[in-house]
Symmetry: C2
């Protein structure tokens, strides 16, 4: 659904409308930034996120101002930005980044107590694949302390900037190197907790976790 | 300066007030998310950024709605989030992330034409260190097309979450591995532009660029 607020005014050629791209962004992202307005002051806060059916799942403390406002159904904007590289053009002006961004407008839906447990399991599976099987279930008290919201994705704007440096004609005979410098994020070696019981090796599944989550 | 909007209500032990931490975050970050409100609708947009004296520099097209609003001095919130790792606790509830975030409140200051050129050079130096010496100067037309704003950093909230998994006592005898999985971002091998003139090697300075920009 395109509205004035989802129409890309700048660089409209970067706007895409492909469900596969939306899915790819949602499956990769672990954090989103949420904008809400309280008493005319905008706030922008990072939250962890996961795909949840046709919605985006976010969770936080029931005591947080952000989640209280989201639970109240205030208008919000949720943006996911994935940075894929630097674009080294032959001028500063054309230098830029490779990125993918998803901006969603709407109001969050507070999940019921019944829906919460299942949704949070999905969040754990998204952030820590294969790990949930060895973790105990969340307690009722933990669930009560956690606000879980689903954000609609039916009013979204997607931009993908993965192109070549867009140098002006007159710069093309320059001696300056031009191209893309990919940025990749990956996991380092696991660091055991200082209070970890001895003899517990780091889990195999970590080696299977996909990189590039940022 | 602490106000109600910069006070950390959730996890106040994670709030820090150390200029060296602010500097470290600003020197590392290449993107920020900006929240503004237009007609009661919050917007959250990613922009590239760089430290600029005691302010944060951001630039965009003079034709962009975001930069028009910022130039008009609307109330804004600028948030930088750096993700440093996953915290694998012994329960889903205590599992979290290592991150550093800076949230700034205020109104942007539109730079004058005189100030712009110097400021944009600083942005290029921040994103592409050592590269500016080989790039031509920006033209007057390029400068005219670029809106450059400085955002104040005198009303900020900083959170640093770099601690151990905070498991509840009763989970400590669990057989589950617990610890930190660092997330590191780095540059991949440079990819020459398809229209790069032959015989131009990728620049040496790229190898000196600091990683972990996300």
């Amino acid at each position: 659904m395109e509205s004035d607020r989802t129409k890309v005014h700048r660089a409209p050629h970067k706007q895409v409308d492909d469900p596969a791209v939306v899915r790819r962004i949602l499956e990769r992202a672990i954090i989103a930034h949420v904008a809400i307005t309280i008493a005319d002051q905008p706030y922008c806060l990072p939250v962890s996120c996961a795909p949840y059916g046709d919605e985006l799942l976010m969770h936080g403390s029931v005591a947080s101002r952000l989640f209280k406002a989201l639970a109240d159904g205030v208008p919000a904007c949720v943006t996911i930005t994935l940075i894929d590289g630097l674009v080294l053009a032959r001028s500063s002006f054309e230098s830029s980044m490779h990125y993918q961004s998803l901006m969603a407008f709407g109001r969050a839906r507070l999940l019921s107590d019944e829906e919460k447990r299942h949704a949070l399991q999905g969040l754990t599976d998204h952030l820590f694949p294969e790990r949930r099987a060895e973790l105990r279930n969340s307690t009722e008290q933990e669930l009560k302390a956690t606000a879980v919201v689903a954000f609609p994705l039916n009013e979204i704007s997607i931009k993908v900037s993965h192109g070549q440096p867009d140098d002006t004609e007159s710069d093309l005979d320059s001696n300056v190197w031009a191209g893309i410098l990919p940025i990749v994020s990956s996991y380092g070696a696991p660091i055991p907790a200082t209070n970890l019981r001895s003899g517990i090796p780091s889990p195999d599944y970590i080696s299977r976790w996909p990189g590039n989550r940022l």
